[in-house]
């Protein structure tokens, strides 16, 4: 059963359309991550679901109920804000019980629920503290605690980890993941960080300029990006994209050029005319150093070598071109900047995109 259904959601601010028709189904218990570059409308979409922002048109269903005209507090959602939004004048316990107290829930029950939630998040010893006396990670936990206590159908998170330092971010990521496995409630999580998206999500929704580019599991998005945007956005380091064109030699099968080399492409380009412009996508891990004698390698010049210990990133460009691409090689690469090398692409791992950026076939 689907928990959240968005039907043709649109939203404008001051006449400018920010969300341009979003359709989405989210299953019960799913961990869905909205990912996309800054300003693409992720937060806006989340706020539309929460009801903090009125939708321009379309409809929202949560747990089988049309909530399009239901006020935020009655939608069965709870939200964790980027800034945590803890009430500074209230203790942790008061923060967590704020909604229950407004709803005049009996004191005994409030205490029980606060204790329960605090237990889950291991913040029992902090209940009497004020937010000011807490560390970033602890505040984060309290904010999540305030969400849990309301027992919502859907948890909403808006970049909850972006105010934490790198180490804590990884730790909290793990904890949020663990929490989801424990309570199995539907979660919608917004982030601009694709690593967070890849590691947390059951399902990723890639947004760009107010539209959904692609929906899928992390591995689907990684293996079969629907377009150039997703291909470039998902995966670190970024996929290399080369503008190229289709070459079909007399009687031979189709090829695309990769620098000085030609890569055979299968019949998925059969419907295209020779000379059609294409983008060739190759992830850094699908490129390797080869020998000059190998005809499937292309000559390139190294600009920069980043040694990361277990692996190295080579930034290189083809002769006569300034566009850099990245090659990921295992171990410590024995090349230096300025050196000319030969790059061997993995022909089975190349992605092709047409002139509009749409993926052609799937490899």
């Amino acid at each position: 059963m689907s928990e959240v259904t968005l039907k043709d959601i649109r939203k404008s601010f001051d006449g400018l359309e920010i969300i341009k028709g979003v359709n989405l189904e989210i299953e019960t218990g799913e961990f869905v991550v909205f990912v996309g570059p800054s300003g693409c409308g992720k937060s806006t979409l989340l706020r539309l679901i929460s009801g903090l922002e009125d939708i321009g048109s379309g409809s929202i269903t949560i747990a089988g109920r049309d909530v399009t005209r239901v006020p935020p507090s009655q939608r069965g959602v709870s939200m964790v804000f980027q800034s945590y939004a803890l009430f500074p004048h209230m203790s942790v316990a008061q923060n967590m019980s704020f909604g229950l107290r407004l709803a005049k829930v009996p004191k005994k029950e409030i205490e029980r629920k606060v204790a329960e939630a605090a237990e889950v998040l291991q913040i029992t010893h902090l209940l009497d503290r004020k937010p000011k006396q807490l560390s970033g990670g602890q505040r984060q936990r309290v904010a999540i605690g305030r969400s849990i206590i309301r027992n919502p159908n859907v948890f909403l998170f808006d970049e909850p980890l972006s105010n934490l330092d790198a180490a804590l971010r990884v730790q909290m990521r793990v904890e949020i993941s663990r929490l989801h496995q424990e309570i199995k409630t539907t979660m919608i999580y917004v982030t601009h960080d694709q690593v967070e998206a890849m590691t947390l999500a059951d399902k990723i929704v890639v947004l760009n300029e107010g539209r959904i580019e692609q929906v899928g599991t992390p591995m689907e998005l990684y293996r079969r990006p629907a377009n150039r945007f997703v291909a470039e956005f998902i995966g670190t380091p970024k996929m290399n994209l080369f503008d190229t064109e289709l070459v079909v030699p007399q009687g031979g099968s189709a090829l695309v050029s990769f620098g000085s080399a030609l890569i055979p492409v299968d019949d998925r380009v059969a419907h295209l005319q020779p000379g059609a412009s294409l983008s060739l996508g190759l992830r850094p891990e699908n490129l390797e150093l080869g020998s000059a004698a190998d005809p499937t390698t292309a000559e390139a010049r190294i600009e920069l070598v980043e040694k990361l210990g277990g692996e190295s990133m080579l930034h290189a460009h083809f002769p006569g071109s300034k566009d850099l691409f990245v090659v990921n090689v295992a171990g410590e690469a024995a090349v230096r900047p300025g050196e000319t090398v030969h790059i061997k692409p993995d022909p089975d791992a190349c992605y092709l995109f047409d002139g509009n950026g749409r993926a052609i076939g799937q490899s």
């Binding site: 009801g51 922002e53 009125d54 006020p71 935020p72």
Partner: protein, 312 residues
């Protein structure tokens, strides 16, 4: 003034407005209703009425009065008393800008150099602000008292012969004596604003100047003072506005006398309206006062905008 509110009401009625916006609109109306009503009834409406009365000969009590057109204004503008009050207002304003501002700036610069007990000094200089103009006036009436006032006693002690000049009773000195009292009270205010401005100046700027070999004076003159421009604009504007309101202290110290020598527009307006009960005439004076204030506010906001453009 209520046009935005009206628009809000009509917007709330439109069916396609979302639930949040509709609730927001209801709350806007609920929350703004009382403050706006009070403000409109007791500030805006009287303001408009002032304009209306300025065209009448109402005496303050009779139910009927006549519409006299621009007669009040032509009378006001040609009266020697008005010219006198206008000139005094100008003197009063200029002095009330220059004296407290300069004194406040001086004190702020002295206090900014991390002196011992700076907070105690600050409080001492600031203390007069919390006294009422009436009390301040009374204090200074005593200081200017001819026979045993502090000022004359000091002068007598220094010169060695009895000195009994009646500062407040002589047309030549009355308004200036009040200005001194006023400055004593207002200096603390400009001091704190300048101090706030000084703390906003990044220390590395003055340190760089010091490393470059600038003397203390050069640093103050070329680095600190230019950076205090925003604070200066605020202080000056505030002085102008406060000085326009300066009625109480004149009332208590001189009552506009002797021989109207310390009459200002506010004072003149009060005398005409509530001593002579020429309310129409008094309204005309207040309208003129309003227009002057409006001009100054206009200049003030333009200046502020300029400052914002420079410093943002």
């Amino acid at each position: 003034m209520s046009a935005p509110l009206f628009r809000a009401v009509t917007m709330a009625r439109r069916l396609d407005t979302g639930i949040m916006e509709r609730q927001n609109t209801i709350w806007r109306i609920l929350l703004l209703a009382i403050p706006l009503a009070v403000f409109s009834i007791f500030i805006v409406w009287p303001l408009l009425n002032s304009f209306y009365y300025s065209f009448t000969n109402w005496n303050g009590f009779n139910a009927e009065y006549d519409f006299v057109g621009l007669k009040n204004f032509s009378k006001v503008l040609t009266t020697r008393l008005f010219t006198n009050a206008a000139i005094n207002t100008l003197i009063w304003m200029v002095a009330a800008i220059v004296l407290p501002s300069l004194a406040g700036l001086g004190l702020a610069l002295l206090l900014d150099s991390k002196i011992r007990g700076a907070n105690v000094f600050k409080s001492i200089f600031y203390l007069p602000i919390c006294l009422s103009a009436i009390v301040v006036g009374q204090i200074w009436v005593w200081i200017f008292q001819p026979d045993w006032g502090l000022l004359n006693m000091a002068i007598s002690a220094i010169s060695g012969e009895p000195f009994t000049y009646a500062w407040l009773a002589k047309p030549g000195s009355a308004i200036y004596a009040v200005i001194v009292a006023w400055s004593w009270q207002q200096t603390g205010l400009s001091m704190v604003i300048f101090l706030a401005g000084l703390t906003g100046i990044p220390q590395d700027l003055t340190e760089v100047a010091e490393i470059e070999g600038a003397t203390r004076w050069q640093r103050t003159w070329h680095v600190v003072l230019p950076l205090l421009r925003p604070a200066t604009v605020v202080v000056i504007a505030l002085s102008v506005i406060n000085s326009l309101k300066g009625f109480d202290i004149l009332y208590i110290m001189t009552g506009g006398g002797p021989f109207n020598s310390s009459d200002t527009l506010a004072m003149y307006m009060y005398n005409e309206s509530f001593k002579k009960y020429r309310m129409g005439y008094g309204s005309a004076i207040s309208v003129i006062l309003f227009l002057i204030t409006l001009t100054i506010i206009f200049i003030y906001f333009r200046q502020l905008k300029k400052v914002d453009e420079i410093y943002d």
